[in-house]
Symmetry: C2
Subunit: 493 residues, 2 copies
Amino acid sequence: MSDESQELGITESKSHKPGDWYAEVVQKAGLADYAPMGGFIVTKPRGYALWEGIQDALDSEFKATGVDNVYFPMFIPESFLEREKDIVEGFDPEVAWVTHGGHDELEERLAVRPTSESIIAPFMADWTRSHRDLPLRLNQWCSVVRWEATETKPFFRTKEFMWQEGHTAHASDESAWEEVWTRLGQYENLYEDVLAIPVLRGKKPEHDKFPGADTTTTVEALMPDGKSVQGATSHNLGQSFAEAFDITFADEDEDERTAYTTSWGLSWRAIGALIMTHSDDQGLVLPPTIAPTQVVIVPIWQEDTKDDVLEYSADIADDLEAAGFSVELDDRDERNPGFKFNEHELNGVPLRLEIGPYEVEDEEVTLVHRPDNEESVEDRDEIVDAVDEHLDEVFDKLYDAAETNLEENVREAYSPEEILGTIGKHGGYVKTSWCGDEACEEAIKEKIAAEIVMQPLEDEGGTTAGEVPEPDHDECGVCGDPADEIAYFAKSY
Amino acid sequence: MSDESQELGITESKSHKPGDWYAEVVQKAGLADYAPMGGFIVTKPRGYALWEGIQDALDSEFKATGVDNVYFPMFIPESFLEREKDIVEGFDPEVAWVTHGGHDELEERLAVRPTSESIIAPFMADWTRSHRDLPLRLNQWCSVVRWEATETKPFFRTKEFMWQEGHTAHASDESAWEEVWTRLGQYENLYEDVLAIPVLRGKKPEHDKFPGADTTTTVEALMPDGKSVQGATSHNLGQSFAEAFDITFADEDEDERTAYTTSWGLSWRAIGALIMTHSDDQGLVLPPTIAPTQVVIVPIWQEDTKDDVLEYSADIADDLEAAGFSVELDDRDERNPGFKFNEHELNGVPLRLEIGPYEVEDEEVTLVHRPDNEESVEDRDEIVDAVDEHLDEVFDKLYDAAETNLEENVREAYSPEEILGTIGKHGGYVKTSWCGDEACEEAIKEKIAAEIVMQPLEDEGGTTAGEVPEPDHDECGVCGDPADEIAYFAKSY
């Protein structure tokens, strides 16, 4: 390999130094760069394309289920933030404040939105008069800012991050619950069907809910390094925001009633989970469902075969494009095939078509899967169907590997030593019985930085909260007090 | 009409009080509301849908012509803004400053981006090594903030506004010019083909260029009230940003050279121009090319005909949806047809289908155009083709009216009295000869608030700047000095 292709390659190892490896993949696959201000990143074309893929997939689901997109101001007056006490307590320490406009000091400081409940709720109040106006379902795609002083990790920990935030109002608690589960289900589908990442659904423990929420539901994804990622959350806010912001409506009998609200969000952390789950020491790996380029064709020629090989390759590219695949024909003169193979592997193109003079002569095509380099030869005439099948195979390989990782890494433990030992040795989730006291989480967290990432729910998905099932052991796995809940401990991103 | 439908209607008149009328249409058609902080608006579902329509149309054109979407941080360190002197002078008076993160004062103030050249250019420098990296074409869809102390006018004058900003780097001045014209042409197409608004192309006078630009090109649209709207701008930045931020590249001979950059943007002001151009005293009017709902079906029934009418209407809705039209079947029980007619007129649905028992019996459909209520009857069997044709007719009506307004309102004048008199009496554009001195613009501006909104160009569209054609008169229309340029005066938004 030339020096240039060494520079191209990933030098860190996913299994030995996952943090450094992750940072290297993000930069070398052209997903993001670090901005000059700590905590901020620049999202480059290939990284932004992933976000656009996520947006397209989710946005069409939202719209098909009654959600309208809107845009609220990026600033929130301080007095608005203060109207819901949990919100101000929850976010005040991490708000970026605008204090000056031009050369003048503002009369009231403006928060750069850390989340938009406080600016959206007053308008929901205004727009909600009658039960006929409900449910009211709004969503916005935007960025938010949370001034956390932690090390920057692109897509996982940044002071500004992209997300969507949905905000809805309902006439009943049942309708609000239906909303919460609809959105959580859509997040689950995004992870499983588009990102090829199986997730666990559950709720956050009481002490870890969204500020002001009655219940926070979550989808959690297990990374290969044994840590959990909170993939997206969907909150039943009960009536706390409706009461703080006077969201009321006239019911069928013209009686004034207080609404129920929800909010739900998915951030570009989904991109982080995507990278972390599938990629390897050769670089980015993407399921074909989200890859901006699904198929790359690398023609391999000598001077005397060049015209034939390129013509044959271009015809195949045309056929695949006409069939709706996203295809790149890499006919660069200045790079040799080996360099190109490495580069497209680094960038995570799911399927490579290699076409040399033998393929032209035999009217065949050689197909190579990312990530495992499995090679097949298919007939030229059946290339469209073959590509379709091979892309499905690539997806299945990725999903299956992630599913195996998840299935093999949920373990039970019923004493502090066992919990600590299991997480310390294997990572993953440790299922235990829990008394419900935050102190028991703290006891574990202090020793091994693992926390309760979720509690499973039974009978969820309808118009009620669902219930945390009874644990097999009736003593708390940490303190030994009576326990009637199940909790999943894990280290998390 | 009921009280409720009076509340629904527009009470101001477009011809007598265009400003009040505009504000009323924006609010009553559900496009936007005023935010609690002066200068900010909340973009409601029907308003945001217009922005999404514009995004979809432009974004696909950008992508088809080599542009990649990216996302840069919303904050720019003060020291970065200061690196290009024209930018800092141009924007400093209207920057919103973040001074605190959480409870701590920041070491360096951060500007909320008023435009992103200063944060994008350093990365362009980093990403540009060789001539092979050029042209580099980046775009982002985002909002920006400019702290101007003027009266809020939704989509026209707001402190935060949505836009797209394109930023490119090139190996030559010719390549930069080609870029400038490509983007201006795409803006022109958006206005003319999607928004049904004819525009004039030209350049801004030297003293009104974008800070730091060599040339600012513009598309200008004439509103029915005689004022011009700057529809979008495309700037040739020459080498000033490349020099300030060291955007250099190795050419074919490995010599280091300085790049040429451009930037170009279109904001939600396009929505303002859209509303202002076509709407009327009944409310919003939208061309079918941008209308979120293109066709509304209003069934008209008595109790004994209800089932037949609704079934017939639903079948037609299905046929139209299957053909790709965006259709709403308004089968609300609690509203009468007259109320529905008014509401859909207010909301700007281009085509209304009225279906009563007679239509069912005769296997026909009655179609009504927005804005002129022209009525036709078409056969049920040919409804898909008929709707297609009628939507085209609606588009043509709107475009033709706007084109007539433009054609009839470009007048020539060659003395200050004549310029002032013509604009005072008719509004519109006044074409005159100009010596190039800003003082001549000031002389007119002081008296009648009209300015030079553009200068026409000859031979533009290629790889050069184009030239301002020779005027018919060789004396400046304002001061009488020798003049070799043409200028268009107009009042503007």
